[in-house]
C-alpha cells in the first residue's frame, strides 16, 4: 500500500504516446479552426462589402477635410487665431492667397459649399471674392473688405475656423438641431431651422403607431391561426404569407390605387353617400397614407412571431382556468396573454426596428408630413450632397437601431428568428 502511493500516477496516453489531455486540446482546437474556416468566407465578404462601407460613411460624420485640404495657408492661420480678436492682416493675406489658387484650380465651389453648411448664406461671398482675388492688392485687409463688406463680420471667420478643423462634432450638432461655435461651444439652432429633432420624433411616433396597429390587427389573427385545426390554419396562412412574399413596390402601388382621391375607397364612399363627390378624403400623400401602407406591409412580421409562440401554448391551460371558475375574459387575460408576451416582444421589436428605417413607402406615399428620417438621409446623400450631415443623421439612427437589435437579441435571441 505504502509504495503504491509514492509512485506518481501515470498520465493516460493516446495510441501514439502523447498525453490524452494534450491530444484532446489539439482535436478541439482543430475542430474550432474547421468551424471558423467555414464561416470565414462570408464573414470576410460581409466585412468588406457591408461593415467597412458603413464605418467609412460614419467616419464622414465626424471628419471632413474639404476646407483644410483646399486652403492650407488659411487653415494654418485659423489654427492659431483665438476666435475673439479681429482677424489680422496675415490672415487676410492667407485668405487671398488660398482664394487665388482655389479660383485657378476650380475648387472654390467646394470650399464655398463647405462653409455654407456651417454658416448659411455665405456661398456667394466666397465665389465672388475668389473671382476678384487676382486683382486684390495689399494691404489685403482693406482691399478684401472693400471687395465685400461681409468679410468684416467676425462670424464668417468663426465659421471658417470651425470648418478648418477636420475632426468636428459640428455635423452631429446640426443633426440634433444645434450648432457648434468657437466662442460658445454647443448652442441650439434658431427656432425656424430646427427640423431634425422634430423629424426623429415623428419617425418614432409613426413607428410606434405602426407597431401598435400591427399588434392590434396581428394578435387576433395569430390567435385564430393558432387555435384553428391545422388544415384550415394552413390555408388561411397563405393570406398572411402572400403579402409577405409580394413585392414591396406592388403593395405600395396597390395602396396608391386604393387610397388616392379617385381611388377605390373614395369611389366607394361617394357611391354609398358618406361623402360628397367634391369633398373626397385625402388618404394618401400624407401621414395617414404612410401609416396605412406601412401597417399593411409590416403586419406579417408581427403575425408570424406571435403565431409561433401561440402555437406552443397548450389549450388545456385555458380549459383548466375555466374549470376553476374563471370567466372567459379573466382566463384569457390572466392565463393566455402572459404566455404570449415573448411573441409580443419579438414581433413588436421587429416591426419597430423595420419601421424606424423605412424609406420606400414614405417616399412614395408620404407626401410632406409622412416623411421619415431615412428620407432626409437620402435627400442629403443625393440632392444636397451634404454627406457628412447624412452620415451624422444616419449615425444617430443606426445607434438607435443597434440598441433595439441588442434588445431583440436579449429578448428573443437571433437564433430563434423564424421566417415563413
Amino acid at each position: 500500500m505504502a509504495d503504491r502511493q509514492t509512485v506518481p500516477p501515470e498520465p493516460i496516453t493516446a495510441a501514439d504516446g502523447t498525453p490524452l489531455k494534450k491530444k484532446l486540446a489539439q482535436a478541439l482546437f482543430r475542430s474550432r479552426v474547421r468551424a471558423a474556416s467555414l464561416v470565414l468566407p462570408l464573414f470576410a465578404f460581409i466585412m468588406a462589402s457591408f461593415v467597412i462601407p458603413i464605418i467609412a460613411l460614419m467616419w464622414q460624420g465626424v471628419y471632413n477635410d474639404t476646407f483644410s485640404s483646399y486652403t492650407p495657408n488659411l487653415t494654418e492661420q485659423l489654427k492659431v487665431w483665438d476666435g475673439i480678436n479681429d482677424p489680422d492682416e496675415v490672415m487676410y493675406a492667407a485668405l487671398v492667397a488660398d482664394l487665388k489658387t482655389a479660383s485657378a484650380d476650380r475648387t472654390i465651389g467646394r470650399i464655398a459649399t463647405r462653409v455654407n453648411q456651417e454658416f448659411p448664406g455665405t456661398r456667394s461671398l466666397f465665389t465672388r471674392t475668389a473671382r476678384k482675388a487676382k486683382n486684390l492688392k495689399p494691404p489685403f485687409k482693406d482691399s478684401v473688405i472693400k471687395a465685400s463688406k461681409k468679410w468684416d463680420n467676425i462670424e464668417v471667420w468663426r465659421a471658417m475656423k470651425i470648418t478648418s478643423q477636420d475632426l468636428t462634432p459640428g455635423f452631429y450638432a446640426t443633426a440634433l438641431d444645434g450648432r457648434y461655435t468657437v466662442d460658445q461651444g454647443f448652442i441650439s439652432q434658431d427656432e425656424n431651422r430646427q427640423i431634425y429633432v422634430k423629424l426623429f420624433w415623428r419617425t418614432m411616433m409613426i413607428s410606434a403607431t405602426v407597431m401598435g396597429l400591427c399588434l392590434l390587427l396581428g394578435y387576433p389573427v395569430a390567435y385564430l391561426l393558432a387555435t384553428l385545426p391545422l388544415r384550415t390554419s394552413n390555408l388561411l396562412m397563405i393570406m398572411v404569407l402572400l403579402p409577405f412574399w409580394t413585392s414591396l413596390l406592388v403593395r405600395t402601388t396597390a395602396w396608391i390605387a386604393i387610397l388616392q382621391s379617385q381611388g377605390v375607397i373614395n369611389d366607394l364612399m361617394v357611391y354609398v353617400g358618406i361623402t360628397a363627390d367634391d369633398a373626397r378624403f385625402s388618404l394618401i400623400y400624407n401621414m395617414t397614407g404612410t401609416i396605412i401602407a406601412m401597417t399593411h406591409i409590416l403586419l406579417p412580421f408581427m403575425i408570424l412571431p406571435l403565431y409561433s409562440v401561440m402555437k406552443t401554448i397548450p389549450p388545456s391551460y385555458m380549459r383548466a382556468a375555466r374549470s376553476l371558475g374563471a370567466t372567459p375574459t379573466t382566463a384569457f387575460i390572466k392565463v393566455y396573454m402572459p404566455q404570449t408576451i415573448p411573441g409580443i416582444g419579438a414581433g413588436g421589436l421587429l416591426v419597430f426596428i423595420l419601421a424606424i428605417g423605412y424609406y420606400i413607402t414614405p417616399a412614395l406615399v408620404g407626401g410632406q408630413d409622412g416623411q421619415l428620417i431615412s428620407n432626409m438621409i437620402a435627400y442629403h446623400m443625393q440632392k444636397s450632397l451634404n454627406w457628412s450631415l447624412a452620415a451624422a443623421l444616419g449615425g444617430i439612427l443606426l445607434a438607435g437601431v443597434l440598441l433595439l437589435y441588442w434588445a431583440y437579441d436579449r429578448v428573443v435571441g437571433i437564433d430563434n428568428m423564424k421566417l415563413g
Binding site: A35, P53, L249, A257, Y359, V401, D409
Partner: protein, 304 residues
C-alpha cells in the same frame, strides 16, 4: 375552437362569431390590396381606378394594352409587323424587358453568391465549437436590421471610391449582402434538427469529410438551402434602395423601373407588371410550401 361545446352561453356565441368577423376583415385588409391590382391592370383607360364600364363587366372596358406596353415601351419601331425583327427589337430596346433581364441576371448572381457563402457559414455557425458564435451570428444577420438607406448610402460612398458603383458587380455584391441573413436563418433552422450521430455513423463507415457532407448532410439540409436561396432571390428581386444609390440607368431593375413609374408618369403598365409579380410570388410561395413539407418529411424520418 373548431366546434362550440354545448355549454356555450349566448354571450360566448355572439363573441365567437364577432371575433371571426373581425379576423375576416383583417384578412381582407391583408389580401385585398394585392387582389385589387389584378382587374385594374386590364383597364382600357389610362387610369388607376375602376371605370363604369369595368363595374358593369363591359368587355370593351377591358384590354391587354398595358401588357403590350410592357413589351412595346422604348422599342425602336413598335408598330412594325410582328415577327423575329419585332421580337429582337423588344428584347433589345424595350425598357421593361431590359429591367426584367437585369433583375433576373442580378438576382440569380446575387442568389448564387449569398447561398454558397451563407450555407457554408450556417454549417460552421451551427457547430458548438464555433468561437464567438453569438457575436459573429449577430454581425452576419445585421444587414437585415440596419436601415436600408444607411446600407445603401455607405455602399455608395465606399464603392464610388473603388470604382464599383454603377457596375453590375457593385449591385450584385450589395444584393448578396442583403440576401445572406435569410440563407443563414433558414439553413440554421434545418440544422437545428440535424442528428449529429449520422455524421459519426458515416465517418465510422469510412466516408471522408467531403463524402459525408455530400451524401449525408447535404440531402438533409437541401430544402433549407433552396428556401434560403428563394428568400435571397426575392430580396434581390424586390430591392430598390441599393439600386437607387448604386446603379446607373444601364442596371435598372424591375423595382427601379416601377419606382420611377410611380414617381413620374403613373400609367397602368405598372399595374400590369405588378400583376405579373404577384403571380411570380404565388409560384415562389407554392415552391416554398412544397419544400417545407419535404423537409418535415425528411426530418420525420431522421428523428425516429
Amino acid at each position: 375552437m373548431a366546434k362550440l361545446p354545448p355549454y356555450t352561453s349566448t354571450g360566448e356565441y355572439i363573441w365567437h362569431y364577432t371575433f371571426r368577423a373581425i379576423c375576416g376583415f383583417i384578412f381582407l385588409f391583408l389580401i385585398l390590396p394585392i387582389l385589387v391590382v389584378l382587374p385594374l391592370s386590364f383597364n382600357v383607360e389610362p387610369y388607376f381606378s375602376f371605370t363604369k364600364g369595368m363595374l358593369s363587366f363591359d368587355s370593351e372596358a377591358y384590354s391587354l394594352r398595358w401588357y403590350e406596353d410592357i413589351l412595346r415601351n422604348g422599342m425602336g419601331a413598335p408598330d412594325a409587323p410582328f415577327g423575329w425583327a419585332w421580337l429582337a427589337d423588344t428584347w433589345n430596346n424595350s425598357q421593361w424587358m431590359r429591367a426584367i433581364r437585369n433583375s433576373f441576371f442580378i438576382g440569380i448572381c446575387a442568389t448564387l453568391l449569398s447561398t454558397a457563402l451563407g450555407t457554408l457559414a450556417a454549417i460552421g455557425l451551427s457547430r458548438s465549437e464555433m468561437p464567438y458564435r453569438r457575436l459573429i451570428m449577430s454581425i452576419l444577420i445585421s444587414p437585415m436590421i440596419v436601415p436600408l438607406v444607411i446600407t445603401a448610402a455607405g455602399m455608395f460612398y465606399f464603392y464610388s471610391q473603388i470604382q464599383l458603383s454603377q457596375t453590375y458587380l457593385g449591385v450584385i455584391m450589395a444584393h448578396a449582402v442583403l440576401g445572406t441573413p435569410f440563407v443563414i436563418i433558414t439553413v440554421t433552422a434545418t440544422l437545428v434538427g440535424f442528428d449529429k450521430s449520422l455524421v459519426r455513423a458515416s465517418q465510422s463507415l469510412g466516408a471522408g469529410a467531403v463524402t459525408t457532407f455530400r451524401k449525408v448532410q447535404m440531402p438533409l439540409i437541401i430544402p433549407g438551402v433552396i428556401s434560403g436561396g428563394l428568400f435571397a432571390f426575392i430580396t434581390s428581386f424586390d430591392e430598390v434602395v441599393a439600386v437607387l444609390f448604386l446603379a446607373s440607368p444601364e442596371q435598372r431593375t424591375i423595382p427601379r423601373q416601377m419606382w420611377s413609374g410611380i414617381r413620374e408618369q403613373i400609367s397602368p403598365t405598372i399595374l400590369a407588371v405588378a400583376t405579373l409579380l404577384v403571380i411570380l410570388s404565388i409560384i415562389l410561395l407554392t415552391v416554398l410550401e412544397l419544400l417545407r413539407r419535404r423537409s418535415e418529411r425528411l426530418r420525420g424520418i431522421t428523428s425516429s
